[in-house]
Amino acid sequence: MSYKTTAKAGPRRDLAILRKRLAGYGLLSPALILMITMLALPIMALVTLSFWTQNGFELDRSFTLANYWKMIKPSADPTVWFGIPFYLDYPVPAILMIKSLTMSLVATIAVITLAYPMAYFLAFRVTRNKAAWIILMTIPFWTSYLLRVFSWKIMLGFNGAINSGLIYVGLIDAPLEFLLYNPTAVTITLAHAWVAFAVLPIYVSLEKIDRSLLEAASDLGDSRWRRFRRITLPLSMPGTLAASLLVFIPTVGDYVTPELVGGTGGTMIGSLVQKMFMSLNNAPMGAAISITMMAVITLLVLIFLTLVGYWRMRARRA
């Protein structure tokens, strides 16, 4: 291990650089090997499994696209879900996929809408105890996700805090049943569980904005709103986009929230994957659904980023 290369001419210098690089890769290798054996290889194993099939208790190891075909196999009579006809033989994965994406999208929009003013407040208004405010935003992200979701079950439940509180103060006579176990409850809980996560990336990009640009805009006669729209908002876009992706990507496959507050109506694609691997005993189908989910998320993220890049180019030309 050497920290410094001494500049000597010719092959000895090349040798020194080579030795230094080898030492560097040597230091990197334990973590890298762990990541390869525990992330890359398992994902490859999952892909392999998705091309196999389960026949009862037997695993058929011959290569087939049957699991993927099953998800898109057309059928003459449609399954109608929310007024949308699905002409599929086995529409459950497709419906749950669209449902999960929609719920995550709504939750992500809610998260960004809620987090942006808070991040703005942290960046531009807080002058004293800034570290304390930031820690206050950090704590919820690190403390148990399970418990944060569970607290919504206590809030919204049939015998929960909201219902019993409203009955106690006399506003309602019987518990409201629509609070828990539906997609709305899942979306609200997701938004709440992830909102703290979005504040920090947005805050960092707001904090980086050169204050003299804002002063210049004001001096040249921009109103506060116009200044925000033309300078603050565009310059904080990178952090805002990063935050929205960091919320959207993991929430699509979330398992805990739909399980605890979703009931039968609020299930998402993650619940289906879990069922395939556990109670339904069809791991290859579960693998195919997981891979499809990852592929769909990746594709959507790429489309989104391309669109953002295109808008930027257009905005720059205008």
């Binding site: 291990m1 920290y3 410094k4 230094k20 690089r21 990197l28 334990p30 973590a31 890298l32 762990l34 990541m35 525990m38 992330l39 890359a40 290889l41 398992p42 994902i43 194993a45 999952l46 809620l114 808070m118 703005y120 407040f121 208004r125 820690i135 935003m137 704590i139 919820p140 690190w142 403390t143 148990s144 996700y145 399970l146 418990l147 944060r148 569970f150 607290s151 206590i154 015998n159 929960g160 805090a161 219902n163 019993s164 709440h192 909102v195 703290a196 960091l246 990507i249 699509v252 496959g253 979330d254 398992y255 805990v256 993650g270 994957v273 691997f277 791991a283 693998a287 997981s290 990852m294």
Partner: protein, 267 residues
């Protein structure tokens, strides 16, 4: 300060109330003298906490979680120290994509990580599930966090201190222990604490990869289905919340102090 109180301040206060409100219900109802989480409150009691000690299953889950979290925190921090050194101190070709690859667990839904590990462990390697498989899964998801904390810390102090040590005749090994490691200490401690919290609170991977024994979140999840277990669950949940909050504050304070002072004399 009066003139600073405006709509944005009101919003910030409401935001914090929204963020912390629901979670505060757990400690509130855990000291309520009743068996349901309902208003009106019936009076103060600590009996739900007292009865926790007699719960053998809960105590063994607590012991399992603590053991796993310690192993995970130490292993992921050790791996991350070595990797962060390599990335920040050596100009390695291909370092950027490697770091990107190592950060992947942050954006892959944990259910996919869980089933992928489950498949390779059971179907391809034929290893039975145990607390060790949970430990392995947790190291994987803690590594990106440890790595980013330690990389930030190691970029934060001057490499010329290490060069000086080498020039003055210390071996690379001695330089690491006498210069690099003490300077990286705030990062190391916060990586250990964060690794501990992440592993201790993690549910999905533990749920998929555990054998017959359970970790604390898995135990907690199994209790959530039974309404009569609710008071005990609330008490346990409140203790977990308080414990992890204290650890997070400690980790953040140490990390921030480390970032602010680049003077080795301050540590």
């Amino acid at each position: 300060m009066m003139r600073h109180i405006d709509a944005l301040w009101v919003y910030a206060v409401l935001f914090v109330a929204f963020l912390y409100g629901p979670v505060m219900l757990l400690p509130l109802f855990s000291v309520n003298d009743g068996n349901f989480a309902t208003f009106p409150l019936r009076g103060f009691t600590l009996r739900h906490y007292a009865s926790m000690w007699d719960n053998g299953a809960m105590m063994s889950a607590l012991a399992n979680s603590t053991r796993i979290a310690i192993i995970v925190a130490v292993t992921s921090t050790a791996l991350a120290i070595s990797a962060a050194l390599a990335i920040t101190r050596y100009r390695l070709p291909g370092a950027a994509p490697i770091v990107g690859f190592m950060m992947l667990p942050l954006v892959i839904p944990s259910i996919v990580i869980s089933v992928a590990l489950l498949v390779i462990i059971i179907r391809f390697l034929g290893i039975p599930l145990s607390l060790w498989t949970v430990t392995a899964g947790h190291i994987l998801i803690c590594l990106p966090f440890s790595l980013s904390v330690l990389m930030a810390r190691m970029e934060g102090f001057d490499p010329s201190l290490e060069e000086a040590s080498r020039d003055l005749g210390c071996s690379a090994w001695k330089t690491f222990w006498r210069v690099t490691f003490p300077l990286a200490m705030p990062g190391v401690i916060s990586s250990l604490l964060l690794g501990f919290i992440i592993s201790f609170d993690e549910f999905v991977i533990a749920f998929f990869l555990t054998g017959t024994e359970s970790t604390l979140p898995v135990f907690l999840f199994s209790q959530l289905r039974f309404p009569n277990k609710l008071p005990g669950t609330l008490a346990l949940g409140s203790l977990i919340l308080v414990g992890s909050t204290l650890l997070v504050i400690l980790a953040e304070v140490i990390r921030r102090r480390g970032v602010q002072s680049n003077n080795p004399g301050d540590i």
